[in-house]
Symmetry: C2
Subunit: 235 residues, 2 copies
């Protein structure tokens, strides 16, 4: 069969913006780049798309190799394709953002990478256009989380309402009213109260809740306005 001759091929890669939450702050997982140029500099984790895989598969592979995790929330963010973005050779990158439970992340023993979690408000200079990718991912996270219950992906299976509220407050850098917040969240009907309290963080203890996975999946596209005026956070 005829080929598309005279067309220029290029390298296609994927980079992952990996978010985590340590209970207080949003975190970003970065690696020290192995390849030249810029070897040793901090960057997002990424990799080239292989001949036999789709972009989703490439992103999952890269994420799994670094974190050991599968079944992670992973969403295509956008393509980055400035011809000169990679000084070595033209490479178009499709950025994905991932939300993981930071507790599930275990530094892989066969550490091909040197990886580290950084505070989202303070992390090293990144290579190429990775800073732009992170900015876009943050904006997307805020936008998406204002309507869809994706922030649960950042929490462990059991969590308390105060923990959840802290997460929202951290993502949007706002303070929220406890009473209104719990009413809003509970009215979504996605949570189940457990018979157990978290006594780590207070004397009285706060009830643990867990996601009802079935309802979560069924209502994933449901639109809840948890955050007032979400638009102002979307740049």
């Amino acid at each position: 069969m005829t080929k598309y001759n005279h067309q220029t091929k290029l390298l296609l890669a994927t980079d992952c913006i990996i978010f985590g939450f340590d209970g207080r702050q949003l975190k970003l997982l970065l690696v020290q780049r192995a390849l030249e140029p810029e070897a040793g500099k901090w960057s997002l984790v990424g990799g080239f798309v292989q001949p036999n895989e789709s972009l989703d598969q490439a992103a999952s592979r890269v994420l799994h190799k670094l974190t050991g995790l599968s079944d992670v929330y992973l969403e295509e963010l956008s393509t980055f394709s400035e011809p000169s973005r990679d000084p070595v050779e033209r490479t178009v990158s499709v950025a994905y953002f991932a939300l993981i439970d930071i507790n599930k992340y275990k530094q892989q023993i066969t550490a091909d990478y040197h990886a580290e979690w950084f505070d989202l408000n303070k992390y090293p200079k990144l290579i190429f256009d990775h800073q732009e990718m992170v900015d876009k991912a943050k904006a997307r996270l805020r936008y998406k989380a204002a309507f869809h219950p994706i922030l649960f992906e950042l929490l462990p299976p059991k969590f308390t309402l105060p923990q959840l509220q802290s997460l929202y407050e951290e993502v949007y850098n706002i303070e929220m009213d406890k009473r209104n917040f719990s009413r809003k969240i509970l009215s979504m009907n996605l949570l189940e109260k457990l018979d157990e309290k978290d006594k780590e963080n207070s004397k009285k203890g706060a009830w643990f809740y867990k996601l009802n996975k079935k309802k979560y999946k069924a209502n994933f596209h449901s639109v809840a306005t948890i955050i007032p005026n979400p638009d102002i956070y979307y740049s």
Copy 2:
């Protein structure tokens, strides 16, 4: 400088899902494919990314070449990268969706393409995975338009409230209450009433409005819940 050897390069293309509105129905602009294979079959307009351009530029170029239009609403939809999606040779495509004022579209005289507007509810079988692209673009349009005032992009500079309402009704396949609709739309404060009526479509005539571009741009990210339960339209 070192190159990324041993990595496989591939072809990168862009395809545009171009929406229009003729006052009654949503339309899709399709072209008859020039290249083999599938020459003569209907497809989205597309093209390969050139060495000196970004994906946004490639999409704009493709769109401009077909429609003669610049400054069109154009948004990255997502990548399509199944290894076998193009039977000829591996090609990853980044789909964009475009919203244009159908009246501004003039068949280019140097018609490199045979292009035609089709009713979104009835159009020919498309090549490769283009059907999937259209489906995804429709879903995205519904989702986005439920929160952001993008449907104005499909209308001429002067339009009436009944025309605007018809457009929303067509996009969501619902009927809306005139009173509630105009209240909602006007409360967004994006429209300016003109001193002129459209007498084409009724005896009484309906007032023309125009977008206040300044407010439109300033409030572009503002979230208006024009459509109740928008989530049910997002697949």
